[in-house]
Symmetry: C3
Subunit: 353 residues, 3 copies
């Protein structure tokens, strides 16, 4: 499948990396990740050039990784720096591709395209939310057996929450919800609003001892930022009916989606909240609720949708699109255009594989 | 694969349907089945036209089914009759294909071809056996990981019973068995007879306290009706040697075969008997014996045969045919001709998918 | 895939055969093996010509095997000699291919090509090692989910032992190891030597009470015989530094590899040793150590290498070859040439399938 290559993809939470190698498939490319002795992330193509043994089955030794089959050792730039056999020659062919990686806000980002174009200024801006005062955060990741574009579809259309997620949504939220979509280059922002509408079990739980949202109904707002190819920031807030936004219970979430293969996706998530932030039981409950929604509600549904499609390109399957699909269709169009442009540029440049 | 479309297929035992949706693959087409409020069967294409979510993951609400992903609701004719989002428009494109279904003698039949050609007069006649006085019946269904044509082959050649089914057959039945095959349109009748031959353990068990079959040997008869595409009625009887048929212990069975995919089959079975009809232990023993024969003897053997074939078309594999294959080869020929005729008709008509 | 057909392949250890049929896939061809009443091995194509039921699901009856589906019986030449149905005709078409088989030194060998070319003089010579006095032997077999050529690669390059097999190898063995490769027709001999080098845990254990190898270091020698297509004899010895070879602790091993399919291999192994030959604990420990090395170290590594290749032809994947690959690349070249020659010969002869 064609992926956008010149882009930052979430590769791993930094706390997943250590001096034990981590294998991860990204855009159908096997990658081995580890921390060097200075805790800087390293990402190499995960196959020894000699016999294709996954380097992730080898051992990290300081700043290098040794193949577990015949002991060749590779540095962070992917060059073989030790061949223990015969005359010990390490010709240039004895090297693996090294990928630009950068750690930002606890996430290790990888650049799958041309190294010379990798620039950390293209990292998703919205990661800054982690620094917002008054919030605590939880994070994790899971593997979704569905194409990443379909996970984006799911997240850019929150009208499904009422039907699929009893804990996160409330019956009746669809009624009277408005949606505004705007976009600027690779960024798309989608705002939904449902005023004087039943609050969700999640928010009801978090308003404990808080008079500002004491009513059955409230004003619900969602603001979703999608940055190509598939990194999403979603801030959901609830206030008392008519109350200003700065009184809101706020649950910002990240959904950093990285294609593993055409039909599977790494789903890195983080969730913050600004109420009951010192309560372990609330943290535990939120974490369980979020993971449950992804694993037991979203993923089976997306997989089931995929099982009814003859290809993983939604539009090829001629869906009956609705107004609620505006943002997700627009995102697909933007991404398709970016991939087309990149393919044409690559056609006139030597291929890096 | 090509299936006969303009034909009734067994879709489900009526007691499998309720107001909970039932998903079933039929001729490679995903179908959702349920009972409406008047217990009439409904069969729809099992994918919402919006995002292809299986409707079987949704909820039946009275006479309609609601998609579990975004809440669209569909009536028994497949038209969307509620869109809870935005302006609530339900354009004609927002509909799923509805399939003719009919309930007869406890079985729900589905018509996979052109709706206007569906006529209950084409339903298998022999279903009437259910009404025969003096019999009790048991029924069930199982999934067979083999092409439906190979399950038909198995049933149209009872000479395998002696070798594969110790409980249902007896050593020596093959010797002196005669077979007569006749056919009329889509119906094929195959009669086998073995006189003065060892009776089977099954019959020996059922003659308990019955002087008419007290001997070691008896006359065994089988009459098999195959109706294209794959519905089989098989009446097996045993009498004392030379005794008239109306004194027979009789075990009529149905084998209603519906292709799920090219290599898997829904096998709906029913068995009746006219002795010891008030005995629960006999009913239980018969049921166990029949299910065991299908699940642990026929299915593994048919799957093993399939594993040795390079395609699921038996004749393409150039088998060494024997006289015992007469009925099954004829059935394949009749079915092949019907499918050919239908394909040509469809070539001049708009395709319904 | 293309295999060398006119060659002897290890089919089964003789102690695996009995009057119960054994099913084994060899070169993508299903084979059924059994012992006739005189304990001679029989090998037939494992599918009844009638309906393709695997004969291995049937019953051996004396010198014949009866199909479990309809009872046809076949002799050791593959001809049907009993048809229990109808007039009992057994036309010539009612036969299965019979394969030449020969038992030698406890191994049953099968010839997958033209029967008239099968000659036991082509059996691997080196099998004679079994008869060497002063040795005891253990043997077994396992299934490897990897192409047989990659298992050969593994065995023809012992430099991996140091990295992959802590029990069989020692850190530092690679340093100063020399390798000499010679070949003669279908036979390739590869000799490695590492003098004054740390002895392995295995040898340390076996020199118990033996002054000749009392030092930390020793002289290690390996002699590998590869005979096309994939039968390997490997003799590894250790002596005291500078001591003559007739004082060596010796562990000769066989690695008889038979392709099951393009991506799976039957691995028949045997190991002998000339020290502590009366000790059950040593026999048990050796057996466990060898099986562990194959199952838990070699096989997962070879499978992992395969997972990184786009085809099972190593050279198509453009590996960065090293001097240690000399023998394995040569073996691939010899085998490739033999297969090419055979293909051309077959092109002018009638095909036997």
């Amino acid at each position: 499948m064609k992926y956008l290559k010149n882009a930052w993809y979430a590769a791993a939470w930094a706390d997943e990396l250590s001096q034990r190698p981590l294998a991860r498939m990204i855009c159908e490319t096997p990658i081995v990740l580890f921390h060097d002795t200075e805790r800087r992330p390293v990402a190499l193509f995960d196959a020894c050039p000699h016999r294709f043994a996954p380097l992730s089955l080898g051992r990290v030794q300081g700043d290098r990784i040794a193949c577990g089959y015949h002991g060749l050792e590779f540095g962070r730039d992917g060059r073989c720096i030790k061949n223990p056999h015969g005359n010990g020659a390490t010709p240039a062919a004895l090297s693996v591709r090294s990928f630009p990686v950068v750690e930002r806000c606890g996430m290790v980002w990888i650049w799958m395209g041309r190294s010379e174009m990798a620039d950390s200024k293209h990292l998703p801006e919205h990661l800054k939310a982690f620094d917002q005062p008054g919030f605590v955060w939880s994070h994790g990741n899971l593997n979704v057996a569905a194409p990443y574009e379909m996970v984006v579809d799911n997240l850019l259309d929150l009208s499904h929450v009422e039907y699929l997620h009893p804990f996160l949504g409330s019956a009746g939220n669809s009624k009277g919800r408005t949606m505004r979509v705007e976009h600027d280059g690779n960024l798309l922002i989608c705002r939904t609003e449902a005023t004087d509408t039943p609050v969700t079990p999640l928010f009801r739980l978090m308003r404990e001892g808080d008079e500002s949202v004491d009513d059955e109904n409230g004003d619900l707002r969602g603001e979703t930022h999608w940055l190509a190819p598939a990194n999403i920031y979603l801030d959901t807030t609830t206030t008392r009916v008519g109350a200003p936004l700065n009184t809101a219970i706020s649950v910002p979430t990240y959904h950093l989606l990285t294609p593993a293969t055409a039909d599977s996706t790494h789903y890195f998530w983080a969730a913050g909240w600004n109420r009951l932030t010192d309560r372990d039981d609330v943290a535990q409950m939120l974490r369980t609720g979020i993971v449950n929604a992804f694993e037991n509600e979203d993923e089976p549904m997306i997989r089931a949708c995929r099982s009814r499609m003859h290809s993983n390109d939604l539009l090829e399957n001629r869906p009956a699109l609705l107004p609620i699909d505006e943002a997700s269709v627009l995102a697909r169009r933007i991404l398709g255009r970016l991939i087309d442009v990149e393919s044409k540029e690559n056609a006139v440049l030597p291929d890096l594989g």
